[in-house]
């Protein structure tokens, strides 16, 4: 096995690790948008997932409980959003911004109170040893060349996410349920005529999206890093939003976008260190480039990719149109 081969394996593994939370949140957001509701506030929901997972894991000593708490927190956020947008006819863009504010505010508030509380009790705010998740190599399979380290040496939630992707893809593509979800966003009148409760359907789709975003938040705080910091999602929620458009509301496209983004991200991180250690003169010359330009790469690459593809997709027709429509 050559060195470059190792490098490619490592990069691909890191790419999938970094892309997992975005894929997870993206699947949820896709289902929500297909049903006709765009949620700009996934960033806030992910943050709530982060803080819920971290604090509950810290208190209960069990990562699984934390993960469930994050999913629950995401669903609560989704319920608030659904109450405002689906049942309360609020504008989705505006309400989404408010949900983002709510998530930032509430997670920051809970974090500060949690720190005070733990310190008053004389406990550390760090996660108890062994309560966070680590990578779970799948026996035997992880020894396969290339595929093993990339696909079978990931965090547990990554496997679940990949399975979920297949299930959601199959449901959207081949089942009556998928047809209904698509119709909720494209032809709510037809759904109504067929006896489907439009608002209930949209709310359920949003609940699913909230659960996904919450779990994505948990992935960031108790799997990938074992730490919480205010605004730790760092704009990933917005990137997911962009990637759903990028993937033209098609699941494979979105996953591809997330992986592409994750790959460029892990590539730039590796380049940042490799330029100092490598003997290669071309790589070594990069030492004069400020590291921020490397950090910028994924975003620039996304813009360039979009500019090259240069084709707009319309998206679900009834996004941000409350049901039932008011005729004026």
């Amino acid at each position: 096995m050559t060195a470059s081969h190792n490098m490619i394996t490592f990069l691909s593994r890191q790419a999938l690790t970094a892309a997992t939370p975005m894929i997870l949140a993206g699947v949820g957001e896709l289902v929500g948008e297909l049903s006709g509701v765009i949620n700009i506030g996934i960033e806030g929901t992910m943050l709530m997932g982060c803080i819920a997972a971290y604090t509950v894991t810290g208190v209960s000593n069990h990562g699984t409980v934390g993960l469930l708490a994050a999913i629950a927190a995401g669903m609560v956020m989704a319920m608030i959003f659904a109450a405002a947008c689906v049942w309360g006819r609020a504008d989705q863009i505006v309400a989404g911004t408010a949900m983002d504010l709510l998530g930032v505010g509430l997670s920051g508030m809970v974090w500060m109170m949690y720190q005070n509380w733990r310190e008053n009790l004389g406990f550390s705010t760090a996660l108890p040893h062994g309560s966070g998740f680590s990578r779970v190599p799948i026996p035997l399979l992880h020894q396969i060349a290339f595929l093993g380290p990339v696909f079978f040496d990931q965090y547990a939630l990554c496997y679940i996410t990949l399975c979920l992707c297949v299930v959601v893809w199959w449901v959207l593509r081949h089942t009556r349920l998928g047809l209904i979800i698509g119709a909720l966003g494209d032809a709510p009148e037809a759904c109504h005529a067929a006896g489907v409760r439009v608002r209930m359907g949209r709310s359920l789709c949003l609940l699913f999206a909230g659960a996904c975003s919450g779990a994505a938040g948990a992935y960031l705080s108790i799997m990938q890093t074992h730490a919480f910091a205010t605004n730790m999602t760092g704009g990933q929620g917005f990137v997911v939003l962009a990637l759903v458009i990028f993937g033209r509301w098609k699941l494979p496209g979105i996953i591809g976008g997330c992986l592409f983004f994750g790959l460029i991200n892990s590539l730039q991180q590796t380049l940042q260190t490799a330029r100092y250690t490598s003997q290669n003169t071309a790589l070594h010359a990069l030492t004069h480039v400020p590291f921020q330009f490397f950090q910028m790469l994924p975003y620039l690459a996304a813009i360039v990719a979009l500019a090259i593809m240069s084709r707009k997709a319309p998206g679900p027709r009834y996004i941000n149109v409350p049901w039932p429509e008011v005729k004026t």
């Binding site: 504010l101 500060m112 005070n116 910028m296 975003y299």
Partner: protein, 363 residues
């Protein structure tokens, strides 16, 4: 004419009264919730109010905090009205501040504040505007939706600013991404001494009124509104749609960039890449002000007062996290949205202006 004018005032008064009622109820609920958590409610409310408006100084710091919010709010409001979904005020704000600090530190050798300050403000505005134009160019000629490119460009601007602040603009003797502090004579002058009332606040207010007049009373403003409501109609009426969109984007970005420059020269005086989330908060400010420049003045002041009071509460012995203010803002926006959606169905025509552009081009 008479009736129309007073009819407008009447409905505006109702809207403002309703908004005030909602704000009051949510604030009362928040204080009640804090009381349940064991914080003394009266003392909390007292500290909050005093921190936000208890003295000239408190009042001035609230207004100074509202100033960048007003400008980023205008940036979002102007653009959304014209159907240009500019989410990039954050990046435009940062680049405005960056340009201002670059110009000021490079032009200090002239020792001419009267020359340097206007140049820095103008430079900041132009930088923000140009950064906005990048997104509009991508939309027009490469079919990249503005919502998307502005989100991505925000991050590009962030890392550009950090690179500059750790490179050519870095302060001596520090490893952090931070510019040197600007000498006192290049700060924006205060119009009330020993407070935070700097002339940037007046500038922002004048700009808001100016934008309102343009929006309501000029052909340019009318055309921009039509472009936002329905580009097809605008095209059929032989309006220069593309030109209007580019111009609106430039104005929007310039507002945000000016906000960054004013915040830098008037308030913080040295730059880091973490100058607050004014860009994103501006979107909420604009939407709460219903995209009307005058409404945005009120909502930005409200946000400024809430934030400043909350910071004083956090610094006090109560130590209630300042993020409480963000939660309150979010709840107020949600409640007002639902009220608008449920009860004002009949007067939805006014809302149409707010929602229609979003429906038109939302992803």
């Amino acid at each position: 004419m008479f009736k129309r004018f007073f009819g407008n005032i009447w409905s505006a008064a109702i809207a403002v009264a309703l908004a005030a009622l909602v704000c009051g109820v949510v604030l009362a609920l928040a204080i009640g919730a804090a009381a349940l958590l064991g914080y003394p409610p009266i003392r909390l409310a007292d500290l909050w109010l005093r921190g936000a408006a208890g003295s000239w100084y408190a009042l001035s710091s609230s207004c100074a905090d509202a100033c960048p919010l007003l400008l980023t709010g205008l940036a979002a409001g102007v653009a959304f009205r014209a159907g240009v979904l500019n989410i990039g005020a954050q990046g435009q704000f940062l680049l405005g501040a960056l340009t201002a600090v670059a110009l000021t530190t490079r032009m200090m050798i002239f020792h001419q504040p009267a020359l340097v300050i206007p140049t820095a403000l103008l430079g900041g505005a132009v930088a923000g505007g140009l950064w906005g134009l990048v997104a509009q160019y991508l939309e027009r000629y490469r079919s990249v939706p503005v919502v998307l490119s502005t989100i991505l460009l925000n991050f590009v601007a962030l890392y550009l600013a950090q690179a500059a602040l750790q490179g050519p603009l870095q302060a001596l003797g520090t490893a952090a991404a931070q510019s040197p502090e600007i000498a006192g004579k290049y700060w924006l002058p205060l119009f009330v001494p020993y407070t935070d009332f700097h002339i940037g606040i007046i500038l922002a207010l004048v700009l808001a009124v100016l934008l309102w007049v343009v929006q309501q009373r000029s052909i340019f403003g009318f055309e921009a509104r039509v472009v936002g409501l329905n580009p097809g109609t605008a095209r059929a009426m032989k309006m220069p749609v593309t030109a209007r969109q580019f111009q609106i984007m430039f104005i929007s970005g310039a507002c945000a960039g000016l906000g960054g420059a004013i915040q830098l020269l008037g308030q913080v005086h040295f730059m880091t890449a973490h100058m607050g989330n004014y860009g994103y908060a501006g979107i909420a400010v604009a939407l709460l002000g219903r995209l009307n420049p005058l409404g945005i003045i009120i909502s930005s002041l409200f946000f400024g007062f809430l934030d400043t009071g909350a910071y004083r509460v956090e610094e006090s012995s109560l130590a209630l996290p300042h993020n409480m203010a963000n939660v309150i803002k979010a709840l107020i926006i949600l409640v007002m949205l639902v009220l608008a959606g449920l009860s004002l169905r009949k007067s939805r025509r006014a809302d149409r202006r707010v929602t229609a552009p979003a429906q038109e081009s939302a992803p």
